[in-house]
């Protein structure tokens, strides 16, 4: 049993020419290879693109962090400056002054210092110093505090007091302590300690314009729709371009996700987005949100260019494979057209040998074949011609009119002499002779029929020539059932009588023998007549020699018949002038079953 069912070959893919087959296979192969490599490189490239954009965003976020940190560091440096300033220390210290007037120059100097800082730094909106003793200095020469703003309840103040000297950062808020000024700021505040560092004496405040952070964040390009926001460690939003919407509950941000993670992640919620988180190290987390389809926008272009490239390559591949297959199949086509001509019967064509490869060899072989066929055809035609003539002759021999005339003449002559018994014998023999020859219209006959035939013939001749002719017919019983071409012996017997014995003085004897020997059927026709002169004997068997007896069949004809039927010569004639002639015919044994008419 077969393990697998045998698949029928796909019928759609039946090609009318080897060229289209080659074209198809090469194209298919190339297309497959191209598709695989294109897909592979596309995947690699798109991965690279995605990876690149991720990396790019990560780099960008680092940059954002650096920028923000720079500003915050500056604020801290400013606070450090205030911290170490002797005027500030002295001014804050509770015991320093007795009168208001004494305070003034200090106030002015500190205010000048703050002002200098503010002038050089456009990002700082205000610098303030609030002493626990109620003293207050800011960067403004004339400061009027908002009487309704309670400084002590403000976040930055409370945080600074709580932190005890460490700088603290407060989320963006509207500063309202300066009258008629409402600005969005980010505050850095720290408590200032007394000289011994034990007791807090006041709070120092630096306000950074929120627009600085807003600019940093909003200038980041993350596709068309990407944005940056900042949260603190508790998940409070420090900065978000759509903060109002978040507060109103119109939009939601993945605050929990962001606070719990520290690296980038992709959310599938709603639209696919890439969140990249950058921890600033002081509690703020800068988060960028990029829409994946915008990162992939680039990817689509790549995809398209790969498809176009692949299509072009396939078209080129088809073109090239067409050329290749044409080249390959061209000699085959030429050979084919030669064969077509041969098919139509033109045996004179020769295939041109264009190359020495397999197809060239094929063409050569084809040429050899054609010439061989041509030769065989000619041979066959010739053979047919000979056979036709021979058969005509054979027919003539069977009903040789002269023989018939002579025989009938003899019969008349005998009848006139009232030799009734001889007339009967001769007529009977003649009748048998004809019967035997017309009995079977076959090429091959059993030996005994030939024996009967030759016996009847000799009987007639004996009656004609009387004492001048004697004959013996001796056939081995074993040879009788073999087959032989018909009317093979008659020409020789005829020759023996007409040329050998008729010209001899006195009685002549014809001996016809047949036997088997060494797988051969051998006949011998022997006469003791005048014999054949050697020069004549020489030409006797060659076919171009004119038949000796124009009425009957020449020996050469018989020889040709044997050659045609057996493929080899089989007649051996030996003769001695005055001593008679001996013809030996040697034929390969043929039995009935081998002798089917061609």
């Amino acid at each position: 049993m077969r393990m697998f069912p045998r698949y029928k070959p796909i019928r759609i893919l039946r090609f009318r020419s080897i060229q289209s087959r080659i074209t198809f296979i090469i194209s298919l192969l190339l297309a497959f290879v191209l598709a695989v490599t294109s897909l592979n490189s596309y995947l690699l490239t798109s991965d690279a693109v995605e990876g690149n954009s991720r990396q790019y965003i990560a780099e960008l976020m680092k940059q954002v962090k650096m920028n923000i940190l720079t500003y915050l560091d500056n604020m801290e440096q400013i606070s450090q400056l205030a911290l170490t300033n002797r005027d500030v220390k002295y001014y804050l210290s509770d015991t320093s002054f007795i009168t208001e007037e004494a305070r003034r120059p200090y106030e002015k100097r500190i205010s000048d210092l703050f002002q200098t800082i503010i002038i050089t730094r456009s990002d700082i909106s205000s610098i303030m110093l609030i002493g626990y003793n109620g003293r207050f200095v800011s960067d403004r020469r004339v400061t009027s505090l908002n009487p309704y703003a309670d400084i002590k309840s403000q976040t930055w103040y409370k945080k600074a007091v709580d932190a005890g000297g460490e700088p603290v950062l407060s989320p963006p808020h509207v500063q309202n302590i300066i009258q008629n000024e409402y600005r969005w700021v980010v505050s850095l505040s720290r408590e200032l300690k007394s000289a011994d560092g034990m007791i807090g004496e006041g709070v120092f405040l630096v306000n950074l314009n929120l627009s600085v952070i807003d600019e940093i964040c909003s200038q980041i390009k993350l596709g068309n729709r990407g944005y940056v926001f900042i949260v603190d460690e508790l998940g409070n939003i420090i900065y978000h371009p759509q903060q109002q919407l978040l507060y109103s509950g119109i939009k939601e941000e993945l605050i929990e996700e962001v606070t719990s993670r520290s690296s980038s992640f992709i959310t599938e919620e709603g639209e696919k987005r890439l969140y990249t988180i950058e921890d600033t190290g002081f509690g703020w987390k800068i988060v960028s949100v990029a829409y994946m389809n915008e990162l992939i926008e680039n990817k689509e272009v790549i995809q398209l260019s790969y498809i176009i490239l692949m299509l072009i390559s396939i078209v080129v591949a088809i073109f090239i494979s067409n050329i290749i297959s044409k080249r390959l199949s061209h000699p085959i086509k030429r050979l084919q057209s030669s064969m077509k001509k041969l098919e139509r019967g033109n045996f004179n064509i020769r295939a041109e040998i264009l190359s020495i490869d397999e197809i060239g060899q094929l063409a050569r072989t084809f040429n050899v074949m054609v010439s061989k066929i041509k030769e065989l055809m000619n041979q066959k035609l010739k053979d047919q011609e000979i056979k036709r003539i021979n058969e005509l002759r054979l027919l003539q021999a069977q009903i040789n009119p002269h023989f018939l005339y002579n025989t009938l003449d003899s019969i008349i002559w005998m009848a006139e002499r009232k030799k009734h018994s001889e007339v009967v014998e001769m007529t009977a023999s003649l009748a048998r002779l004809f019967r035997s020859s017309i009995q079977k219209d076959e090429e091959w006959i059993p030996v005994f029929i030939e024996r009967e035939h030759i016996t009847n013939y000799l009987k007639i001749q004996k009656l004609r020539y009387k004492d001048r002719l004697d004959y013996r017919v001796e056939f081995d019983a074993a040879a009788l059932e073999c087959r032989m071409p018909r009317i093979l012996l008659q020409p020789f017997v005829e020759n023996a009588i007409y040329h050998g014995i008729k010209n001899k003085e006195g009685m002549g004897t014809v001996r016809v023998k047949g036997w088997l020997e060494n797988n051969e059927l051998i006949f011998e026709i022997e006469d003791d007549g005048v014999g054949i002169p050697p020069e004549k004997l020489k030409h006797l068997l060659s076919s171009n020699h004119e038949p000796v007896n124009k009425r009957g069949i020449g020996v050469a004809n018989v020889n040709e018949r044997i050659k045609l039927l057996y493929g080899k010569e089989g007649i051996y004639i030996s003769s001695e002038c005055g001593n008679g002639t001996k013809v030996m015919i040697r034929l390969p044994i043929r039995h009935e079953e081998e002798c089917i008419d061609e």
Partner: protein
Amino acid sequence: MVLFLLLLGLSLILILRAIFTQEHRQEKIIAILKTNDIRKEFWQTVAQGIHSAEKEFDVIVDIRGPLSETDIEEQIELLREAIAEKPDAIMLAPVDVEALVPAAEEVKKAGIRLIVIDMALQAGKVDSLVMTDHVDAGRKAGAVLAQQLKPNSKIVMMSLMKNYQVALLREQGVREALEAEYPHIEIVGSYFNYSEEETYAKTKVIFSDHKDLSGIIVMDSIATVGVTEALKGIELVNKSVKLVGFEGSINEIKLLEEGLMAAVVVRKPFNLGYLGIKAAVDLIRNPHSNSTVMLEPVVITQNNMYEPENQKILFPFVIR
């Protein structure tokens, strides 16, 4: 043959892709605000909301508006210009709910989607509406005032003529709230004036007529100036008279800080702009997504004014 078909299919995909990528063009929306004056923080914040939505939905929004909040002619003109440009949608914050009706009809006739924000037009059909619920704002103002007053108190309402339509809606809200929850509070009167000065004068007159007045609802921030100036002049009453206003101007913020105003009812301009564009985008991308969005007003008092979400509303962060 098979190969040919394969090629044909591939090129078909290619063509379809090309068409598809071409189809992804940015929709254009023209927003005509009440004013495009950069000094009007309310409308600048609306513009911020618009920009935020513009970026989020990846559309192009062109913001226009007359210089003055009362310039009806100019707004109609702007609307006609916008129609001629054949955008995908027009978002309109009408200066006047009556006068803009015919022009708005033209928008619809031109086959352009029309989204009206801030105030509903008096007549005609619009595709989507995003507005502050002025009646609700009035209700909230009425309620917050009533809570701070003793029973049987008397109040008045002061408005400016230029804000007539909104003032009427707010007044309706105040009346609804008082009738439903605080029937014992009496509305002595409702006054419409033409300017700050007129309001100032009117307030003085009212106070001389009604010495027992304990609450004022001021429908307009400009009217607030006149009212507060008048109250400062009548020193004896300024602390006992409760003032509730709308809009939340800087002046009103200061008054809140000072405790001169009991509350201010404010709109959310950022959300107004954002939701207006969102409605427009929804309409363009899905023609049957008509909607009416009512934005809830927020009551701001001295206590909650510095809470983060209220800071965002009261102090628009506008980069100039």
